[in-house]
Symmetry: C2
Subunit: 239 residues, 2 copies
DNA sequence: TGGAATTTCAAACGATCGTTTGAATCATCC
DNA sequence: GGATGATTCAAACGATCGTTTGAAATTCCA
């Protein structure tokens, strides 16, 4: 029952590393394809070429396996986001950073993850997109814990970069930004109907170009005059 | 085996209407809370106070029930979206419509649905948000069919309202808009971390005010100069 | 009202689920 | 090299799944 903490001597686990990694890789793929509930441990362990009991042995339960799948990618990504922001603020030397730069500091680590087909790549981002929309408590509080630190720092930086926005306005706009970003990176193509362009054209629209398109959109949205500065919009007037 | 097409005479079904509606209502709530796979027909029919076999009798299968749940709300909403756009274009008389008005024509039906707690309300929009991120083929092609007509017309209208955007650029920006919109309306609050404001403050941020905040953000993003008009952004230069 | 069609119901179908168990295998170090 | 602990394995656990069935109950129309 040592589990999850093997090899107490020199190197980290090596014998079990193969098993744990194969499980994580298979879980990442299958959870993305079929979702958490619809993925059975039997199909998962079969795909990973490990014994059925290996999941409960190494991770404790199916839920803990799911969290481990998320942690493996999210931890480094969010840490890199924080490091990039800190470097940005060091270079700025007390002055507020440019809005675009802050946005890029947040987007680039996600982009790098998406392109790292070696490990996870887009599969993981799609899985993450699903997790965002999942109301299961154990998923929601896990994501909250994972993002809390990173989000707080970025909200602070954006707040100084966009002094014309009230605190509430900023909160909502960052919500919009994260929505468009995660939705786009997840790339589930719920509306692939949009793209009636030539398919080879879409192939060439790689992730880097995608973010180059997303960035101006988000920056313009962030810099837009807040509610009330423009004429009052009559919303649900009709009917 | 008539099923799904009862009462061939005067009124639509009345005896079975109670059963079918109760099933749809319970399914809407439970699918939202636990997802499609994790919701069992036994808990569903129990919540609806109907017999277990009623789902297969009235809808054929669990999957068809899920599609019926989506259709009940999506059909009227997307139809209203089209009607509003057509009215807009009639009033404009050949001229391109204002970008804001097109956006509102798309958002208002969704908002009205969100506020109609009588039927569905936010529960359904959260369910829809989950469906967007679900890669299950039967869900994806169903959503495509549901949205295809509406999306095509709006893409056309936006294209005329934003002549400075290339076709590809427009495609992506509409993708961003739908992402931010659906993500926000779904309101899963994956990043409720943003909102450290007073809780009563968030309570008062009702849906109408939310869209009044979202609209300027999206309009500014849509109107932003396309890629290449601004200085070239060096993206993944570092590292 | 009587007969046909529709709807409800309890019960069971076979299949699959996540987890546990206890013995067998493997690696490691005294 | 033998003991110790980590890991793998086949097998089984009880539970729950979506669906089907055939009869009972209900509704509808002639």
């Amino acid at each position: 029952m040592a589990a999850t903490r093997p090899a107490r001597k020199g190197f980290p686990d090596l014998a079990s590393a193969g098993t744990k990694t194969r499980i994580l890789d298979a879980a990442e793929l299958l959870f993305m394809e079929h979702g958490f509930e619809a993925t059975s441990l039997r199909s998962l362990t079969s795909a990973a070429s490990v014994n059925l009991a290996a999941v409960n042995y190494h991770f404790g339960s199916k839920e803990e396996l799911f969290q481990a799948v998320l942690t493996r990618r999210l931890d480094p990504m969010n840490q890199e986001r924080i490091e990039r922001l800190e470097k940005l603020e060091r270079d700025a030397g007390g002055k507020p950073c440019a809005c675009e730069k802050i946005l890029f500091a947040m987007m680039i680590p996600a982009l790098k993850l998406a392109r790292d087909e070696n490990r996870g790549g887009k599969n993981f981002l799609r899985l993450l997109g699903r997790a965002y929309a999942d109301p299961a408590p154990f998923i929601r509080q896990f994501l909250s814990a994972q993002y809390a630190g990173m989000i707080a720092r970025y909200k602070d930086a954006f707040g100084r970069a966009l002094p014309h926005l009230s605190k509430q306005e900023l909160t909502w706009r960052l919500h919009f930004v994260m929505g468009a970003l995660s939705y786009t990176l997840a790339g589930t193509d719920a509306f692939k109907l949009f793209a009636q362009v030539a398919p080879n054209e879409r192939e060439r629209d790689n992730d880097e170009l995608l973010l180059q398109r997303l960035a101006p959109f988000l920056v313009a949205g962030l810099k837009a005059p807040p509610l009330g500065d423009t004429r009052k919009l009559e919303l649900v007037s009709g009917d």
